[in-house]
Amino acid sequence: MLKQASRTSLAFSAVVALLLVATGVCARAGVRTSDLWWMPEVASKEGVLIDQLTYFIYYLTGGVFVLTQIVLIYFLVKYRSRRGAKATYSHGNNRLELLWTAIPTAIFIGLWGYSNHLWLDVLHAPAPPDSMEVHVLAYQFAFSFQYPGADGKLGQSDVKLIGNDNLFGNDPNDPATKDNFQSSVLELPVNKPVRLRLNSRDVIHAFYVPQFRVYQDMVPGRTIDWVWFTPTKLGSFQLACNQLCGSGHYNMKAQIEVVSQQDFDKWYKEKATAANAPAGNAPAQSK
């Protein structure tokens, strides 16, 4: 019996060893050099808050994990069957039951309070007044973006108007839609909140950027306008569809460029003039 117990612990140490070896092998390969085993570096203001919560849960669950596994392994070794030793006759202990019901309940409700405050009061608070609105359309298997144009307003849109000649479902009677322009790249100014208006033309897609810690499904027939975030790092990112949407799903993505306000203004001006020169709101698909 002793032999069997040590065999179990042997198997356990083998797992640990293997996991360590795996870490070593994998950590050496690859392009990315930092945070290879962890989250990609956060690139939005709100993402920092999400990471704090993630770490809080990480330490909480990590502690519980280590404690329960240590207790389990300790019991398994200590109480292995031995000649002459008889098991304790016990049907339980109500005081203990109460204790290990009350403590997790308190922890979980507390965690919910923290998490829910972040969810409702911070992440989904109304977007700051200085935020820029971008209209995002998803379809099998690409994304398109629409910017407000010179007047800074996207204007009214309606999912029922979405069609081949009106990709974003702009309301033709709203003058604010006239100077909107389109882009196949999501160009964003750094440190400025951006608010998304999300639409899908066919099936459910998703707006997912791990560096921004942002995920939102884009549902056909619905406009989702509560997602906003503030990019804080210059550079290129990839927007990925993260809701199975068909055979091309694996490759449905778009480029995100976070640039300085200056560069953004320059890009914006060029695009706005180019789009408005020929005929108002032409459905041009240029970069």
């Binding site: 019996m1 795996a22 849960i57 292995r80 098991a87 995920y215």
Partner: protein, 590 residues
């Protein structure tokens, strides 16, 4: 009680006549209404489906490690909806692989293993009944289940192949052939699940009736073994949740084939309605797939620790709580679906609350092991691994329950790791443990313990090597359900991890071989099993192995609860439920 060796015959087959009239071959093995034979039918069928669904997983893993590389050897024999002309898996084929892997594992493997096999085997035997309340429905349930498996897997031979919109089949992708490209496959999915649902409903009604009405004298509710409590609660969940899925599947079938628009975005349909219906079934389903395993594992741990279950009533109430709360947490699959944000907040709350009974159960398992005299049988190893893995799967669930964190890890490999820790490290390890534990009763022979341990060690090690790194992949932002992770800059550096996982997964798949050999060899050549090889208390261990048709010669009388182990003042460390405690001994509970 003395350890008499039952006079076991080669298999369940020869002994199933007992004192009843001789049955024809057809009535005895094919259209059998004996719950033990039906359990056996479920066992062999689910084992077969386990291998099929496991092979599909191998395909999924192959593609993720070596995207675009032709599948060696079998590549050129695979149908054109699955592979390109060079034999490499194509993206649409990949979608079909994981869709069918998950659908089969859920509906054709884990559910029938837990509910079909052990529900059928244990309910009459552990409550002291000769058979189920409705033996005809029981047989019908098995044949409907088999039919559903044939319909689901049969779509392999359709020109467009398997359904490919995920096991969740989110509309409108699933509702329109022009979006999913698999009209026949997706229709088979709907019909298959509808038929599978009928089987579940018939089974559930049967289980509830049997447990409520057919308990032996003295078998009070609080003297029921925990597997029976778990199966009873599960049956209620099935009865309330499955009809919703059946209805939804029928509606989806109409959308797909008859031009209705329940779930399309046009004509006043609602894509989110599908998700609400699916998860209203789908979340209780998660508990349907874990509660019976919890019951089986509780039994195995108590017997092999030679100790009463710590907090029997707490265990029962925790399961009732899980069953009840399981119906009000479905929205946590939909935090980022476009559902009302305030609704997400309430579902987050109920999800946090449902973690409490799971925690209670874990602490009670630890309490059961504490002070025990643990026998490391293979069954016990798997049961303990269940507890350990369930802790990991449970804790990783808390990340998703916190709505803001879900914004980051929703639909990433983090959740793939989570479900596999619960469904494989949990449910399937529980199933393996239960097979090793009840095999002697089913077949009248013992399985080989050494090969069992080898199976356990390999499965445990490679399970963790396969699924643990998936947590890291998820935190790295690797999406689920993408056929080629190298398409994304932030994932390219993760490819070595994917290769490591795939190699581990292959090893995990191979670890099933010692189990299968052991299983089939022992069935015919294993040493004969005594009546009560594990010195267990429950009623199935008081009848021959395998039990005769009708189970009990005379209806047993039950004198106490099922977990009276190591009672002080007794010679033996166990006390079967059909034996009264000696005058000199006072039992501590019920």
């Amino acid at each position: 009680m003395s350890q008499t060796i039952a006079h076991p015959e080669a298999s369940e087959v020869e002994s199933s006549h007992g004192h009843h009239t001789e049955l024809s071959f057809f009535r005895k093995y094919i259209w059998s209404q004996d719950h033990k034979t039906i359990a056996m039918q479920y066992l062999f069928t689910s084992l077969f489906f386990l291998l099929v669904a496991g092979l599909l997983a191998m395909g999924v893993r192959y593609q993720l490690a070596f995207p675009g590389v032709p599948v060696p050897i079998i590549g050129s024999f695979l149908p054109s909806w699955l592979v390109t002309s060079t034999g490499a898996i194509q993206p649409a084929g990949y979608n079909a692989l994981f869709t069918m892997h998950a659908t089969a594992m859920v509906f054709l493997v884990v559910m029938p293993f837990l509910i079909g096999v052990f529900g059928n085997l244990l309910i009459p035997l552990q409550i002291g009944a000769p058979d189920m309340a409705f033996p005809f429905f029981n047989a019908l349930s098995y044949w409907l289940f088999l039919l559903s498996g044939i319909i689901l897997l049969g779509s392999f031979f359709a020109p467009t192949g398997f359904p490919a919109s995920g096991w969740t089949s989110y509309a409108p992708l699933s509702a329109h052939a022009q979006y999913n490209g698999t009209q026949i496959g997706q229709s088979c999915w709907c019909v298959g699940l509808f038929v599978n649902g009928l089987a579940s409903i018939a089974g559930a009604a049967n289980y509830i009736t049997t447990v409520i009405n057919m308990r032996a004298p003295g078998m009070k509710m609080f003297r029921l073994p925990l597997p029976i409590w778990a199966l009873l609660i599960t049956a209620f969940l099935l009865l309330l949740a499955v009809p919703v899925l059946s209805a939804a599947a029928a509606m989806l079938f109409c959308d797909l084939n008859f031009g209705t628009s329940f779930f399309s975005s046009s004509n006043y349909g609602q894509p989110l309605l599908w998700q609400h219906l699916f998860w209203f079934f789908g979340h209780p389903e998660v508990y349907i797939m874990i509660l019976p395993a919890m019951g089986l594992v509780s039994e195995i741990i108590s017997v092999n620790s030679r100790k009463p279950i710590f907090g029997y009533k707490a265990m029962v109430f925790a399961m009732v709580a899980i069953g009840f709360l399981g119906f009000i947490v479905w929205g946590h699959h939909m935090f980022v679906s476009g559902m009302n944000l305030l609704l997400s907040a309430t579902f987050s709350f109920s999800t946090m609350v449902i973690a409490v009974p799971s925690a209670i159960k874990t602490f009670n398992w630890l309490g059961t092991v504490w002070g025990g005299s643990i026998r490391y049988t293979t069954a016990m190893c798997f049961a303990l691994a269940f507890v350990s893995m369930f802790v990991i799967g449970g804790l990783s669930g808390i990340y998703m329950a916190a709505t803001p964190v879900d914004l980051f890890i929703h639909h990433t490999y983090f959740i793939v790791a989570h479900i596999h820790y619960v469904l494989f490290g949990g449910s399937l390890f529980g199933v393996f443990g239960a097979i090793y534990f009840w095999f002697p009763k089913m077949f009248g022979r013992m399985m080989n313990e050494t090969w069992g341990k080898i199976h356990f060690a390999l499965a445990f090690i490679f399970f963790n090597c396969t699924f643990f790194p998936m947590h890291n992949l998820g935190l790295n932002g690797m999406m689920r359900r993408i056929a080629d992770p190298t398409q994304y800059e932030h994932l390219r550096s993760q490819q070595p991890v994917n290769i490591f996982i795939t190699l581990s997964a292959f090893a995990l798949g191979l670890s099933t071989i010692p189990f299968l050999i052991n299983f089939f060899y022992s069935m015919f050549k294993g040493p004969k099993a005594p009546i009560n090889p594990w010195k267990s208390n429950t009623l199935e261990w008081t009848v021959p192995s395998p039990p005769p048709h009708g189970n009990f010669e005379t209806t047993p009388t039950v004198y106490h609860g099922p977990y009276e182990y190591s009672v002080p003042g007794m010679e033996e460390d166990y006390l079967p439920q059909n034996q009264p405690a000696p005058e000199t001994v006072r039992l501590a509970a019920h």
